[in-house]
Symmetry: D3
């Protein structure tokens, strides 16, 4: 059985993330979407909130588990028996950062492969940080995030949903 | 009458910004140079200072107004009756960020167009942040910013002009 | 009256080109879509065909004229009284080429401005050359080009429409 | 059973290609390395030679088949029952081209996923065309291509092996 | 005698830095590796530590001096009689930043040349910040930094060496 | 004595090339500007013409020799006793190609270093091929190439100088 890990901060999860997750779930037998604690980034949503916002978008019976991790990704992957890391690629700047991370992860563990998927082009301009900027001022984000994330952003910024 | 908005933080305005503004003023009937408050960026110059440093470089009778805004740019553009946003493009990294913002702004308001202009190549290496770094240590910036900005930077960093 | 020129080879015109043209027609009073002869590129469609495929997509009363040119674009722009060149920007590689052309055109005529527009993201992956490759093997291109171009490609490659 | 296609011209196959193939063979149950005829590129090696140079590097019992195809990749993938395309990514320029191809292939067949793998960094500077340039003048290419390709290049350029 | 300056924060020095330094020392008569104080970046290692970690990797008799500086690099270069700045180039994002700095430094002092060297590809994925992230969680960094830096990182993060 | 080689096709030499050459001549004791025959590129100017157009721009007593070469650059460099290759860097696309060439040349000869210089920003938009396009239609190129190249282009394209 081939297990892959899809890691990130997911602060919050977007439709772009869910699109990459969905595509990856057709390639691997099992996907672990692994939420990094990332306290040093001062996330808007607490780890427990980020996990729940993802969990609510996973259909029952889907080959996806939601989990959190801290420390080195390769250590977590080994513990979970994963053979691959999944990453979304949208832009040239993503590409260079991802290249550096991939080479470092291979240096640390040569048996763990990294594969890249491109999200649907409708989501090429979405990122969690841009969505938070727009949501803060009540811009429409309904087609860019799932419904529960839209409501959570409204609550967080004190708008009534 | 076609109105365009040229938004930015302008901390402080440079000759590169003024070059883009001048080029845009030949394409549109009216340009609003819109200074974002950007408190979260901890600007060196207060909003009022940034507005004044620009205003002093606008000739009387020019089709340019100086204003400030906060919140979503598309909301401000609608309020002002603008049909376009003007942005300067200098580098590949600009390009990717601008692409993302443009697609997001179209998502929010499909009637507002974004147009890009390239500054004169003499200004390709100027940016407000690099100019502040150089001015702090009394490097020569005289051909990169207007005279009032040069004096304002001298005062801010405690150099005698 | 502000006139802009939208130049290209248009072998053949795509929905991406028409999208840029449409956006530009809201910014300028008059647009000349100027088809370069480009014999050295051995185009699939003759100049007259390329002109006609565009013309059939211009609504009556629209502020767009279809024309051909050879020689330097800046000479043609001057002859036509245009004050701006319009270009579409899709990718980083576009950006670098366009930057070089823009600086050269400014060197040749500093009064002629170049403005860039981004096509709708649905058309980011279309290019005339990729469309020709796909059409050659009867791949579906119906949402990427106008109907008359689809029929013309079918005839050119000997498929029955 | 998950089958993926690794397409290319492979004129000739390099250690970089074999590295990507090897990585992909750990992710999918079955890989078809599919050599495009590419007559319009005037390849140095005939299709039969290119196929043989690859075949000689596939170990018996490996989950890899060598085949050729012409026409649209998505049609070939459907015929072979493949659910994914595998591509190597080395550079920003690769990235932009691959992005365009991926979006076009999704347009043509939304069920066929494209995944990207990065070759080992030792092979980041190798490409079939650069290797041919070097081999023509008897530069050392021994660690960049398998031994049978080195001999084939020697024969092709009239050097004694 | 030609002197060049190789500036940076070096928090801490990596094998990639030492590779660039070594290459530069074959081109110039004398190299000054100049450590910027960079207090505003909140470095992990104090200036004195960063200087010592470098010094311990400079062989006796090598044409390299280790020094620190603050203020404008061009002022420091002039004071030291240097005719060139040396910089490593790894990625497209490096390139754009370096281009901007080079043009600014030429603006400030046209007699000071900037030259770029590419590190060995084994070090393309190393950066001081990525190494610190990995070392924090006891990932293996032994081939990416010199031995004294590995020990210093262990002490800093409270691991026993 | 340190000798460097500045290789290229130089069809024809531009002020951008001469600017890089001039900068390199301050770093090395001796520069060989090495013109590649490049018959496969069908150059506009014959090798002898390209050599002469450069030679006429080298001042007597300058530490620059003009020569031609064919075959692998590293073989030529070894024959001439050069320790470095000099290359100009203008754009991201240059960067990726140069990276690949540099790594290949290191693979072939690890003792030969490649250094990169950025031309003056006035020449960032010039390239031999763009200049030929403009000169063909009598666009002004006088500040982009030396006077003898301007005259040679006029003669080549049948314009009277």
């Amino acid at each position: 059985m081939r297990t892959a890990i899809y890691p990130g901060t997911f602060d919050p999860v977007t439709n772009g993330h869910l699109d990459v997750l969905f595509r990856a779930s057709h390639i691997f037998d099992n996907i672990i979407i692994a939420v990094a604690e990332s306290e040093e980034k001062h996330p808007l949503f607490a780890l427990a909130e980020r996990l729940q916002l993802i969990q609510e978008n996973i259909a029952q019976g889907q080959n996806v588990q939601v989990a959190s991790f801290r420390g080195l990704l390769i250590d977590y992957a080994k513990k979970m028996g994963a053979s691959a890391i999944v990453r979304g690629l949208r832009a040239v700047s993503d590409f260079e950062f991802e290249f550096q991370m991939t080479q470092m992860n291979r240096h640390l563990d040569d048996d763990l492969e990294t594969i890249f998927l491109m999200p649907k082009q409708d989501y090429f301009f979405t990122s969690s940080s841009l969505i938070k900027q727009v949501a803060r001022f009540q811009g429409k984000i309904d087609s860019l995030v799932p419904a529960n994330v839209e409501r959570a952003l409204d609550r967080k910024f004190g708008h009534k949903g």
